[in-house]
Symmetry: C2
Subunit: 198 residues, 2 copies
DNA sequence: ACATTCTTGGACCGATCGTTCCAAGTAGCC
DNA sequence: GGCTACTTGGAACGATCGGTCCAAGAATGT
């Protein structure tokens, strides 16, 4: 029919990300992916390989586009960990109010699916979460050297806790919790960085 | 072959809970349920109806057995919300170290699956989460009247936050996080109930 | 103009999904 | 001991799953 590709690979990838984001790895069928991307079977398999490979490509795409914006928010307040993490939470909540965006977070969704995920996908998901923790830990360390993080406990646990809270927001959003309630949860979580209270 | 039932319904239900708990609603096939319960197709369908009805029965069973134990821990420290929620977290973490128990929590797992769950199941999951929040809110209110909860913000948000943290523990456990790390997260989260710090 | 290379949509595949159905057989009742 | 009511395991069902294959046709190079 054509000779050269009739579509932009990145556009199709974005569409596939959206399908997985809406339905999860198991819940997204190839038929859903075909409908979402607008591709035919031949094009999809020739371009992306099988469902697992496509999913891995989608995780990567998600990390470099969607998650990257959250990371930018996190880094936008150097030296002030509370403002940095707060900005990340705010960015997450803002995205949830975009009706064009699926609910929750692809990484959180996939983390819940870990038990039934292909091994490579499970490993990538774990790496993505570990990467988020590493980023937050970096921000905290930077702030601690400026004397802004007065927390007395384990800094590693603090970073995991803050990332875990972000995943809580995504999970509860997926379960139908409204954004104002999530805002309250995020604000409450940030009190840990604030022993002297609001 | 028999004339009267050859198995205890509650035992079969417990086995089915375990299967759903391990693989989620979508991931658990009827074949898995047959293997897990040891029943034949005829017995399973005659006793529990279709997969959705069985799942609803499993959610109920889970709530009245597994979740009930966590609730008991929560209520075991009347007047001391921090000890109460801490005991609940400890009970969650203790269960995770039981090798005979699937990882995470059936409710949390199902919350992540909400988008692809049958409507009635989704509603039940939301009700279960709302019930947990109500319980924690009750404990907090009881403690506040005793002057133990010094938090200045929204008490509803505080309850949702504490339940959300429990779900974080379950989600991260499912994703492979080890229990000591989860312990650190739980301890960090409890600092919110402790403005004057450890 | 021709041959080659690549893309494309759909037909098609075996496997597996959830569900229905039924012959075989047992327990309880009169 | 016959009759009814019930349970049971497995056969079988249509639908759908992920994946393969291929004829048709368009772009490229010479």
């Amino acid at each position: 029919m054509t000779g050269r590709k009739q579509f932009a690979v990145d556009d199709a990838l974005d569409a596939a990300v959206r399908v997985f984001w809406e339905r999860g790895y198991d819940g997204a069928t190839v038929a859903h992916l075909l409908e979402g991307t607008g591709l035919g079977r031949g094009s999809l398999y020739a371009t992306f390989g099988d469902k697992e490979e496509l999913f891995l490509a989608c995780l990567d795409r998600y990390a470099t586009t969607v998650a990257a914006r959250l990371l930018a928010a996190l880094r936008s307040h150097p030296g002030d960990p509370r403002a940095a993490v707060g900005a990340m939470y705010t960015a997450i909540l803002a995205r949830m109010q975009d009706p064009g965006c699926p609910s929750g977070c692809l990484v959180t969704l996939s983390a819940g699916e870990c038990a039934t995920l292909p091994q490579r996908a499970r490993e990538v998901v774990q790496q993505l979460i570990a990467g988020q923790v590493r980023e937050v830990r970096g921000v905290l360390a930077e702030g601690a050297s400026c004397g802004v993080v007065p927390h007395g406990g384990d800094p590693d646990a603090l970073a995991e806790y803050l990332v875990g809270t972000a995943q809580t927001l995504a999970l509860l959003h997926r379960a139908g919790t409204d954004v104002p309630t999530l805002r309250g949860i995020a604000d409450t979580a940030l009190h840990v960085l604030h022993p002297e209270v609001p």
